[in-house]
């Protein structure tokens, strides 16, 4: 389905917001103003925003540790993210999750510390949807590096065996932590593994938002209609280091140059301007608004109250005061 102009601008704005959020994070770290390490998804915004675009609020999202893309995509606000990132009492997780963002009202159950532990959790939420006859899809977003975790196999197996409403969205950004994918995989693609479990799959370009959005929309339709799981692999490239403290130097400059030419935000901007969906000055205004929103969110988060010793001991068990 072709995106309306309005929808395209909304997705474009979200991609800008993601990029701006992560740039701000990097800047604050460089200035020594915050301590939370960053795992940025620069260059992958068309994937994180494209896959979450077609989700409904009732649908469940398991995102990754890589930046804020899919969380912004599912509706998390910059203010909520920054209060949690700074470990403030007012954060979504009361400052206890920080980079492990969770938001129950948006159906984002959280992101585990060990990569891929949520592969099976996502199968569990989908199983619960099916058992309770709730019209609800789980979208499991995962990097190709994490697909080598042992739980990937049995999770896909159970999803197919029980015909569960789950989309596996694999973001192949060519880099697995601090190595090229070819050092982790004997193949170019991850998606064909789905075939081993009888799960239909496709491989799509991850740089153009219209492609990522519409492919995911088709997958969600398939899953929502009760046909069982679906897997899509999105081909992109990570333009950032694995995390803000990594030594770097492992990415070939020609790769960076090649993929820079297909930057998802630049591609979307070009389309929006070429088709006169926005005028250049409107685009400029939009970018300034996004920057202002992020700056305001950070400033607000800094002004929020810090958690106290009482907060440290609260919330381990359901019963108050029990540790």
């Amino acid at each position: 389905m072709t995106l309306t102009n309005e929808k395209l601008v909304e997705l474009y704005r979200k991609m800008l917001l993601v990029r701006t959020m992560e740039e701000k994070h990097g800047k604050l770290l460089a200035e020594g103003k915050i301590q939370l390490m960053g795992h940025f998804g620069t260059g992958q915004e068309a994937v994180s925003i494209g896959i979450t675009g077609p989700l409904l609020e009732k649908d469940i999202l398991f995102g990754t540790h890589r930046g804020v893309g899919e969380y912004i995509g599912k509706g998390m606000s910059p203010r909520d993210i920054w209060m949690e990132y700074l470990g403030k009492k007012t954060g979504l997780c009361k400052g206890k999750g920080t980079m492990h963002l969770a938001d129950r009202k948006l159906n984002i159950p959280g992101v585990p510390s060990s990569l891929g532990a949520d592969f099976s959790m996502a199968v569990g939420t989908a199983l619960a949807s099916k058992m309770q006859k709730i019209d609800q899809v789980t979208l499991y977003f995962v990097g190709e590096g994490t697909c080598n975790q042992g739980d990937a196999g049995p999770s896909m197996c159970m999803a197919a065996l029980w015909k569960l409403p789950i989309v596996f969205a694999v973001c192949t950004n060519q880099l697995c932590e601090m190595s090229y994918m070819c050092e982790h995989y004997p193949t170019d693609d991850v998606a064909p593994r789905a075939a081993g479990y009888g799960i239909p799959y496709e491989i799509v370009d991850g740089q153009e938002i219209e492609i990522t959005y519409s492919a995911t929309e088709r997958a969600i339709e398939h899953v929502r209609s009760g046909k069982g799981p679906y897997l899509i692999e999105y081909k992109t490239f990570r333009m950032a280091l694995h995390f803000t403290g990594d030594p770097g130097g492992y990415v070939k400059s020609e790769d960076l140059e090649k993929w820079k030419k297909r930057d998802p935000i630049d591609l979307c901007q070009k389309k929006i301007l070429d088709q006169k969906i926005l005028k250049p000055q409107e685009d400029e205004k939009l970018r300034k608004e996004v920057q202002a929103e992020v700056d305001e969110a950070v400033a607000h988060a800094f002004s929020c109250p810090d958690p106290t010793m009482d907060d440290l001991f609260e919330g381990v068990y359901a019963q108050k005061g029990v540790i």
Binding site: R104, G124, V322
Partner: protein, 324 residues
């Protein structure tokens, strides 16, 4: 009206009653439709396959599935056939299961009950015989239940299933397979966590024993009484939370403390209780704390070696005497 049933029936009744009471309760695990030791046998007949799920052999992944189902409104009862296999699920159990409530700032409750068989004595060898309950002591947010008789097993399993937090429920194989019987009321009841029971009153020494070791301690008491030694036996029933009050009220009376567990000695439950004794309760002690536990060696499938490995009545008697 109480009637006499065995440990296995108690577990089975607890699950069936909770499944009848609450449609959100369901059972999953490897071969649960059949029931490997019989705990879940017959549930599929009453509740259907949609509430009793046979899973693939993938302990870490099925634990994650249970956790995800709990995040989305259900109350899964997961069977990990042997605690030795629960080691395959340690990422889910120790990194995530007990910590999710906290790290999501209380947004998500994880009401998962994991039932798992522990204990030696069946010549099953090194990887089907261990008592590994102490492995879970370091993980925050878990409740650890270790019943010794059918009454406690039923009441505590029902409490576990109703708990809004994850519970690891240990089932000793000598209790499951040994046909240990006990009186269990027909009426509804549950047992709160963190309440120990004094299995035998005594004045000379306090013996804290869990699961099958309660019976070894009772046998030791019978012999010791003939020598004029009168021990008090405390069964904590839950390891986390631990009923420190009952244990140390007894130590206050006896001045002597012996811990007994089938698990290995290093870093075990006995070490934890001994550390408590040496800290807040040091002035109550009239003699050094004694720990009875298994040695730091693997469990052989050889009947001779397995019997030599296990703590028993005699090791308890020796330990008690060392405190007097």
């Amino acid at each position: 009206m109480a009637r006499t049933i065995n440990f296995l029936q108690a577990l089975n009744e607890a699950m069936a009653e909770e499944m009848r009471r609450d449609p959100k309760v369901f059972v999953l695990g490897e071969d649960v439709r059949l029931g490997a030791f019989g705990q879940t046998a017959g549930l599929v007949k009453e509740f259907g396959e949609e509430r009793v799920w046979n899973t693939p052999i993938a302990e870490n992944a099925i634990t994650g599935v249970a956790m995800g189902a709990a995040m989305n409104g259900l109350r899964p009862v997961l069977e990990l056939m042997f605690v030795d296999f629960a080691m395959l699920a340690m990422d889910q159990i120790c990194n995530h299961l007990g910590q999710w409530r906290y790290i999501t700032g209380n947004q998500y409750s994880i009401p998962v009950t994991i039932r798992t068989a522990v204990g030696a004595g069946f010549r099953m060898g090194y990887g089907h015989s261990q008592c590994l309950e102490s492995q879970f002591l370091q993980a925050p947010g878990l409740t650890l239940v270790a019943p010794s008789n059918p009454y406690d097993a039923k009441g505590l399993l029902k409490s576990a299933i109703r708990s809004d937090d994850p519970v690891i429920f240990f089932e000793h194989k000598k209790l499951i397979l040994g046909g240990v019987q006990g009186e269990v009321p027909e009426e509804e009841y549950t047992i709160p966590f963190g309440k120990a029971v004094i299995r035998k009153k005594g004045k000379d020494a306090t013996v804290v024993a869990t699961m099958f070791m309660v019976y070894e301690a009772l046998a030791a008491a019978e012999e010791l009484v003939q020598e004029g030694i009168d021990i008090e036996i405390i069964d904590p029933r839950t390891i986390v939370p631990l009923d420190k009050d009952t244990i140390f009220e007894s130590v206050e009376k006896t001045g002597r403390l012996i811990t007994v567990e089938e698990g290995r000695i290093r870093g075990g439950l006995g070490a934890e209780i001994a550390a408590l004794a040496c800290g807040d309760y040091f002035t109550l002690l009239k003699a050094p704390v004694q720990r009875v536990a298994a040695p730091m060696i693997p469990i052989s499938g050889s009947p001779f070696l397995e019997d030599l490995y296990l703590p028993n009545k005699n090791s308890i008697i020796r330990a008690v005497k060392r405190t007097l």
